[in-house]
């Protein structure tokens, strides 16, 4: 066996070492110098991006490379998703610092736990083996449970963490059960070997399909799609906003990669089976997510239901089993992470003096208080609703096109109808900002780094929309489309 390719995992090694360094450095820092932790975390992400980009494993005709006896894979999809994970996490850190300071929760634990979660995300993205997939997932989940309970004095936070923990463990159990069935049927943990074995024994083996059902259930839990979505609104609502910001953005990319690895790489021959399961999940999520979001008065809950519907769209990209569909799903999940970061960033922006701006009413008259922030929020909302020119439109369009190409006209119709329904509650936020009287007149004061990043984040909605072709091309070429 050859271990010289261990360096393929250099970004993972770097993130792991830096998480440990930050853990130790914090012990020697006085309270008022905690800013160093923030700086170190950002530096970690920047260098992780550099290391990831410098990975020169690909050569003529070779598009991926394996390490650790086939349990770790580097390919273009993985690298892209990792790079966007770093970017989104950096945005999360900048938004969170302001919030954590304001709420007197600025502790290094937030940074170490989220860096460990990032490590889990990276491992899950690069996993090529059922064991690695499970361990990466557990690393993300464990860190997220702790992050949800991060505000120790908050009752809702602890309750949310408990719910998340119990349901998350159940989902892990389901996933493991499915994995054990797949292992029993194919006799291997390696995804390539599983794929070969499936081709050998045929795709109508009941044990394989049985295992697949549980895999899809576990996957659906982690993505948070109907009917396995119960935890999402409560957790998003109960957790402190920085945590919500984190768990709603970065781990979604990992969940997408996990779906690709398990369903496409491992069980690609069972596409006929999982495509049906995913289409049920996708339809239910798009319908229920959009309808339930209308009834919410709490912005965090509203965004939680909107997440559910967005994940339905991601599944819609996956289910035709075509390269363009996978590419569309990948583009969607990246765009969604950026939109979600910006939306929760706005919630943080409006939270002032220890009171979280949870209510939709807190957005009333934002235009009169600060027209630029109102414009940013409007761009984010338009993008989420899928208004043309904004990037969210292209994401939805590609996914729907992939479904149409596969002949799933009914699915495309449902998706279009319910994105119109969904547009109602996104545009309601815009209406509140522009046509209602403000509740308070207090000015919005945020540090300069926050202001810059949220402006850039908002501008991305428009910029990525106008110049979307290159990102789409990269996503598509990741799957050879």
């Amino acid at each position: 066996m050859n271990n010289s390719n261990m360096l393929l995992a250099a970004p993972e090694f770097w993130v792991l070492s830096m998480a440990c360094v930050i853990l130790v450095v914090d012990l020697f820092l006085r309270e008022e110098r905690r800013g160093i932790i923030h700086l170190l975390a950002i530096i970690t992400l920047i260098f992780a991006a550099i290391i990831t980009m410098r990975g020169d494993y690909a050569s003529e005709g070779v598009r991926s490379a394996l390490a650790f006896n086939g349990s770790f894979i580097r390919d273009q999809m993985g690298d892209m998703l990792k790079l966007f994970s770093y970017l989104v996490l950096a945005i999360v850190y900048i938004y969170s610092k302001f919030h954590l300071r304001q709420f007197r929760m600025f502790r290094a634990d937030f940074y170490t736990l989220s860096l460990f979660a990032l490590l889990g995300v990276m491992l899950l993205i690069s996993a090529n083996n059922l064991v690695t997939i499970y361990l990466g997932l557990e690393l993300i989940s464990l860190s997220s449970y702790a992050l949800v309970a991060f505000d120790r004095d908050s009752r809702t936070g602890s309750e949310a963490a408990m719910k998340y923990f119990v349901l998350g463990s159940m989902a892990s159990g389901m996933l493991l059960y499915g994995m054990s069935m797949i292992y029993g049927a194919t006799g291997s943990l390696d995804l390539y070997a599983i794929s070969a074995a499936v081709a050998n024994i045929g795709s109508d083996d009941p044990m394989l399909v049985f295992g697949l059902v549980f895999l899809v259930v576990g996957l659906a839990f982690k993505l948070g799609v109907v009917p396995f979505h119960m935890w999402i609104p409560d957790v998003y609502h109960g957790a402190p906003v920085p945590t919500t910001l984190f768990i709603s953005s970065v781990p979604k990319m990992a969940a997408f990669a996990m779906a690709i690895r398990l369903l496409q790489t491992g069980l690609g021959d069972l596409q006929g089976d999982w495509s049906q399961m995913l289409s049920v999940l996708a339809v239910l999520s798009i319908v229920l997510g959009n309808l339930a979001a209308i009834a919410q008065t709490n912005i965090k809950r509203m965004l939680a239901y909107s997440t559910i519907s967005h994940m339905g769209f991601v599944l819609m990209g996956l289910l035709p089993g075509s390269a363009t569909g996978y590419g569309a799903g990948m583009f969607y999940v990246i765009v969604y992470s950026l939109m979600s970061a910006a939306a929760f960033g706005m919630v943080i922006l409006l939270s002032a003096r220890g009171v979280e701006a949870e209510k939709l009413d807190d957005f009333k008259g934002l235009n009169q208080r600060n027209s630029w922030y109102a414009a940013v929020m409007a761009m984010v909302m338009f993008s989420m609703a899928g208004v043309p020119v904004f990037v969210g439109f292209f994401a939805k369009w590609l996914v729907i096109k992939a479904a149409l190409d596969a002949g799933l006209v009914w699915l495309a119709i449902i998706a279009v109808v319910f994105s119109v329904v969904g547009a109602f509650y996104y545009i309601r936020v815009v209406k509140l900002m522009y046509f209602d009287e403000p509740v308070t007149e207090s000015p919005i004061e945020v540090p300069v780094d926050f202001r810059t990043v949220i402006s850039l984040n908002g501008a991305m909605m428009l910029g990525l929309g106008i110049f979307s072709s290159s990102l789409i091309a990269v996503c598509m070429s990741s799957f050879g489309a």
């Binding site: 792991l16 853990l23 490590l119 064991v131 361990l135 860190s143 702790a146 049985f210």
Partner: protein, 204 residues
């Protein structure tokens, strides 16, 4: 090889019974002890499969460390488990129905003749003399599954960090010892020698 099967079924039945006890007995100490019994039976079944290392580890780690700790907690904290069992009887019928339904469905899907019998999964050949189970596990763990092994370590580290982050509270009035200060203490800081004249004898 009937003796092999008798032993297998005996320990399997004990394990199932013990597992049922864990969730049904009222006294938490009995529940913990039943769990110990379940672990012992599982370990015996592993011994039947000739995986001695894992069997011993199960006893050492789970029975020796985890369950003892658990018993300590149960005994010291005097947890009243009654509230946890509230509604158990109320949910029992629905739970049983769902469980039975699931079990029948599993059976219907998976049960085809010969799928799980010894033809499909033959008894593995016995290990040769002098075969080291520990070495085999170690070799796999540090080569093929190196990444998984390391990541499992990281998962444990995260568990520690999370536990500390969620429970450690620094109270302002606590009187903690500082070992470094204690070691560095000098005689002059603790003992003061006072020169004084001897007092005249009293009461004489």
């Amino acid at each position: 090889m009937p003796i092999y099967e008798i032993v297998f079924y005996f320990f399997s039945l004990v394990m199932l019974g013990a597992a049922l006890m864990v969730i049904t007995v009222r006294n938490p100490v009995y529940a913990a002890l039943s769990l110990v019994l379940a672990f012992f039976s599982a370990s015996a079944i592993w011994l039947l499969l000739e995986v001695e290392f894992l069997a011993i580890i199960l006893i050492l780690v789970y029975v020796g460390a985890v369950m003892v700790l658990f018993l300590f907690v149960v005994m010291m904290l005097d947890i009243n488990l009654e509230p946890l069992k509230e509604g158990f009887m109320r949910y029992l019928p629905a739970g049983v129905v769902v469980a039975l339904l699931m079990a029948t469905e599993f059976m219907l899907v998976l049960w085809t003749k010969g799928r799980f019998d010894t033809q499909a999964f033959p008894v593995p050949a016995p290990n040769p003399d002098g075969y080291s189970n520990t070495k085999a596990v170690g070799e796999l763990l540090y080569t093929n599954y190196l990444l998984a092994f390391e990541v499992a370590g990281v998962v444990l580290l995260v568990a520690i960090i999370a536990a500390v982050a969620l429970t450690l509270r620094q109270r302002s009035g606590s009187r903690r010892q500082n070992p470094a200060m204690q070691v560095r203490v000098r005689r002059e800081e603790r003992v003061r020698l006072v020169q004084m004249d001897s007092e005249p004898r009293q009461g004489s």
